[in-house]
């Protein structure tokens, strides 16, 4: 009952009162819930920080929650957001299938969801799904990898978590490029579940079975960091490692001559954009954009790594 009333009052505030009050007093705009995977991965932290900062600028209170890639936990967090009368939910979800139900539940309660980074398997439930153009980005990373490898040699692929569409799409993008070069031979392909510690452990094992490897292409940066640490420990720093995300850790490694390249996902901007679309939707009833939107990725190597900071690339001097 209190939820309905709150929504009704908020609706009134937005449609009737807001235009006449100063923006600085807009804390009245209500609550935005920001739900992401664990902030242990700086990528998700950047999302949460970006979304929170933009929401506050636009006059919202924020509730930042972490689901740790656990669909049950995510479901409880949706209940919390609904009970707290959130105006909107910004979500990096815990599974393409498992997330459909809670997003629908929020929608039924009158709360629109704006998804970032990861898709869900259905459209028409969330208002926005803004995801990185992982296929385009993976092709960029693969082209760089092929070039670094000199178009030949045995290599390893570390995959992300299987339930996540992004693991599959990046691998597809990699192989659409790499498989065109018959002298590049994949000797091992394993999932390290996006995890740095698993990346380290898997790399150690793979290296024992395949001491001759020349390169490792990874589905994200944390696995690349793990793989690089294992290679370093084994004294194999000549092995070419390429990641995906554009984290500051990998940036620093690139600048120190470690990992060779990664692919930047504009995570910070993506999260801000989701909040802006939420705000526009709450005020006008439309984002003015299609539900599913792709944002292009950018190759990061030693040429531009210095311009990378917290998942955003500063403009180069030239156009």
């Amino acid at each position: 009952m209190s939820i309905t009333r709150r929504l009704f009052v908020s609706g009134l505030a937005i449609t009737a009162v807001l235009p006449t009050v100063r923006a600085a007093q807009a804390q009245e705009k209500g609550l935005i819930a920001i739900i992401t995977p664990s902030h242990d991965n700086p990528f998700f932290k950047a999302e949460a920080v970006g979304a929170e900062a933009r929401a506050k600028e636009l006059g919202y209170e924020t509730l930042v929650l972490v689901h740790d890639d656990d669909p049950n936990k995510q479901s409880q967090m949706f209940d919390t957001a609904i009970a707290r009368g959130a105006q909107a939910i910004i979500l990096d979800n815990a599974g393409a299938d498992a997330t459909v139900a809670p997003v629908q539940r929020a929608k039924d309660a009158g709360i629109p969801s704006f998804l970032i980074d990861r898709e869900i398997k259905e459209s028409g439930i969330a208002v926005s799904q803004i995801v990185s153009n992982n296929y385009q980005g993976a092709q960029l990373g693969a082209e760089e990898f092929v070039m670094l490898m000199g178009e030949e040699g045995p290599y390893v692929e570390l995959l992300g978590r299987e339930a996540d569409t992004n693991a599959g799409i990046r691998s597809a993008g990699y192989h659409d490029i790499i498989d065109q070069y018959p002298d590049l031979e994949m000797v091992a392909q394993q999932s390290a579940n996006w995890s740095q510690t698993e990346g380290y452990a898997k790399m150690e094992t793979i290296l024992q079975a395949n001491p001759g490897i020349k390169g490792v292409i990874c589905g994200n940066d944390t696995m690349a960091m793990g793989a690089w640490a294992a290679l370093e420990a084994a004294g194999r720093t000549e092995v070419i490692v390429v990641g995906f995300d554009g984290s500051n850790d990998v940036r620093d490694s690139i600048l120190n001559g470690g990992i060779k390249a990664t692919v930047l996902q504009p995570a910070y901007r993506q999260a801000q954009l989701a909040v802006e679309q939420a705000d526009q939707y709450l005020q006008t009833g439309s984002t003015g954009q299609p539900e599913k939107q792709l944002m292009d990725c950018v190759l990061i190597n030693e040429e531009n790594a210095a311009r990378l900071e917290t998942f955003a690339l500063a403009d180069a001097a030239t156009n």
């Binding site: 393409a96 398997k121 296929y135 944002m295």
Partner: protein, 212 residues
Amino acid sequence: MRPISMVATVCLSLTATACQIVPDPDPADTANVPQTDEARMAAYVAEAWESQVQPVIAENAVDYDTLRNRLAEGIDAAGAAYGLRPDGEANPWNFAVTGSGTVTEARLDSRAAKMQVDMDGDGAADVTLQLGPVIRGTALRDAMPFIVFTDFRDQIEFAKLARAMNDQAASGLTKPEGDVVGETVSFTGVFTLRSATDTPEIVPTALTMGTP
């Protein structure tokens, strides 16, 4: 010989119902495990190619020199005048272009065959023509206003669509052979341009060698 116009001629000479475009199987695909996404997207593209894709290219194709002049005013000026792109922030412009120039360099034996083409007669290459079969990018898909990401299941299906469109474009071309450097090439194609100073990497949908 223009394969596309040849197909069109054949179509015209038959009744509409008898005309069906069946793409040649791409040998690159048989190496992969068969996936329903790929087959479904290939079928979708085969059906839409003549009826929807080619008309969009024909309607939006701009002469290379005209486009180049407008690009001098900046990428967004050219995009607003001639470009195609999906809605959403920071999506790059795609252009459909026609033109002819002189081949300055060619790598035809590669899986990602390419020709560099001088368009303004100064001897330096201005554009790259991607002859495939491996074609980089998603320009063809992203230039089509009737293709909307929301209508597809996920990025994987959407990526297979881009690949199928590239495959369709490559398989419709008669790839030039021999030493083509110095020869004239005329083309219609689509490309993505992120910055006005980038070299267009055009995916040709029609290609003729020699003086048109």
